[in-house]
Amino acid sequence: MEINTMITIRNLEKRFPVGKDEFIALRDINLVFGAGEFAGLIGPSGSGKTTLLNILGSLDVPSSGEAVVLGYSIGNLNAKQAAKLRKEKLGFIFQSYNLLAVHTVFENVEFPLLLLNIPKDERNRMVMDALEWVGLTGKVRSKPPQLSGGECQRVAIARAMVKKPSLVLADEPTANLDAANSHHILKTMETLNRELKTTFIFATHDDKVISYLRRKIFLLDGRVDKDEVISAR
């Protein structure tokens, strides 16, 4: 196995019980992601994007086959190990930001570092760095309800990035943003991907997002329909 292989997915299948039957949300998935990719799962609604992202994020497990993320086989982790993987290596960005409303921008970004027991001085430095990446150093003391949608999503990006995770999973991160804000955060993520070598995997059907991707994985009815790598951009 190559040293910079991030994710290996082999013959993955995901079935959901629906009443007495089973619904097959993902089937026959075989993918490999290397470190530093800026890739997207693209497909219509119901094609299985979120389901696959969930599994890669150790929030769900494959029904059969295997997903190895950073050397951990997702299906074999217990809840504690999965939490540890998320805490140490993964960052999440959600469509609806999901910030903690009563906490300041600073505290929201600080939270993942608290879970990692990072000492205060280092924590402060890391938070301020992350806020600088997303251009929000002026809003340190604001609380999410006082921010615009674009600013909220930038806080969420800072929160996902602050611990410099190996892998960031972003599910429809632009769905609630207008065009200008979408481009802004996409550029931010592109820069972070380039400078920190963080791997990004998106789930999206937004053309704006797609235009930034360097690898496009098209899903259709739970299968990989097409896997395009854009070599130069």
Partner: protein, 424 residues
């Protein structure tokens, strides 16, 4: 991390202030309710204590055995000396002598012939001595219908219904025909100073209230008294304390087989009163239990709702890689804090209001004209030691249990659903 949680707790009003207020109110109500019920139940007991039983009663052992017959031939002699001893030994009680007696009231016309006649039950109470608390104890002033309270020897009060039946008005003379301590016939004249109505059927049918010295004179009972009554200076009957005192007193006479030796009986050791006291204890416990249970449900629900409301926040924390056990524990710590804070303030608040009602009472005399005694004119709460911890049952235990149960959702929750839930 702890600082982070505390910040969240304090800033999120619906997570701290609101639940604390709910717990505070629930706990305060529980405490107040319990104190109120205890006071209310106690009042019935107190009424009986005031009129007949005392909190304790000292009498000769022979009198005690036939108490219902009011056997004044078995009355305690040297009552003054006994009173003095009681006051010395048990200074936290107020002691007073009473004589209960039966007799016939004869109302003469202008030439001395009987105009009307009727049987009566009388009590001789200390109406005239300097620091007597008896008129207040029996609520005589407020029970007065016509005339005045006796102010000099030889005056007597009649229950108003009885006076009407005998066609007697204040200022009239009546003759009491009874029997002396020695069993011979006694006749004594009184001037009716006023009429009273207690609002108690039993007392209003034919009751006399006279000064105990006059009764002694009338029934030839010098320095004797049927009963020496003791009233706790605190104003409330305390069964355990009173019975302990009775045991202590009776121990000094336990070797005596003299039928005229004094015995002390607590209120609950007299006739049916034991059952009453027992019943009031049971009822107070029973009603409190129902109330505690109801409040528990409310607070438990509040705990549950608090947990549900934080689904989003908890989802985020789980997605960030916080362990379920850690999230669960911090939720419980928070609920312990909320339960404690609410229980403490609620208990303080409940005790404060209970204390107000205990001290000043709620005057309902306007609602009950004619001043009945059995139904007290003021409702008073009563604070007992239990009120200091009772509120913590719904306040702390229910809040924490509610949170624990709602928190089970964290474990049941599929992390797989997190993304979907968080998308909403």
């Amino acid at each position: 991390m702890i600082k982070f949680l505390i910040k969240g707790l304090i800033r999120d009003k619906s997570r701290s202030r609101l639940p604390i207020i709910v717990v505070t109110i629930g706990v305060a109500l529980t405490v107040l309710m319990h104190a109120y019920i205890t006071g209310f139940m106690g009042d019935t007991v107190e009424m009986n204590a005031k009129f007949t039983n005392g909190h304790v009663k000292v009498m000769t052992s022979a009198y005690a055995e036939n108490m219902s017959q009011l056997p004044n031939d078995l009355a305690l002699l040297e009552a003054g000396k006994h009173l003095e001893e009681l006051r010395r030994r048990y200074p936290d009680f107020e002691w007073t002598a009473r004589i209960q007696f039966g007799g016939l009231v004869d109302v003469p016309d202008s030439i001395g012939e009987t105009r009307s006649q009727g049987p009566a039950i009388g009590i001789g109470v200390d109406l005239l001595s300097a620091n007597t608390g008896e008129p207040e104890r029996l609520n005589l002033k407020k029970s007065l219908v016509k005339g005045n309270l006796p102010v000099r020897p030889g005056e007597i009060l009649l229950s108003d219904a009885f006076a009407t039946k005998l066609q007697v008005v204040p200022g009239d003379r009546i003759t009491l025909i009874g029997s002396t301590m020695n069993g011979s016939m006694a006749m004594h004249n009184f001037v009716v100073s006023g009429t009273v109505s207690f609002g108690i059927e039993l007392l209003d049918r034919g009751t006399l209230v006279a000064d105990v010295e006059d009764v002694r004179l009338a029934l030839d009972m010098p320095d004797a008294a049927g009963e020496l009554l003791g009233y706790s200076a605190g104003g409330f009957y305390d069964d355990d304390h009173t019975l302990a005192m009775a045991d202590d007193f009776n121990a000094s006479y336990k070797d005596s087989d003299d039928a005229y030796a004094p015995v002390m009986k607590g209120l609950s050791q007299q006739g049916n009163m034991g059952m009453y006291v027992q019943m009031s204890k049971v009822w107070s416990a029973y009603i409190s239990l129902v109330f505690v249970f109801a409040m528990s449900l409310v607070l438990w629900n509040a705990g549950l709702l608090g947990g549900l409301r934080r689904y989003g926040e908890i989802g985020i924390r789980l997605a960030m890689g916080e362990e379920k056990g850690h999230v669960y524990r911090t939720m419980i710590y928070e609920s312990v804090f909320i339960g404690l804070a609410g229980s403490l303030t609620g208990t303080a608040l409940g005790l404060f209001f209970a204390w107000l009602i205990q001290t000043y009472g709620i005057d309902i005399s306007g609602m009950m004209k004619g001043a009945s005694v059995m139904m007290p004119t003021t409702i008073r709460a009563r604070i007992t030691p239990m009120d200091f911890y009772l509120g913590f049952i719904p306040g702390l235990i229910s809040t924490v249990t509610g949170t624990m149960l709602s928190g089970i959702g964290i474990y049941k929750r599929q992390t797989a659903m997190l993304f979907k839930e968080l998308e909403a």
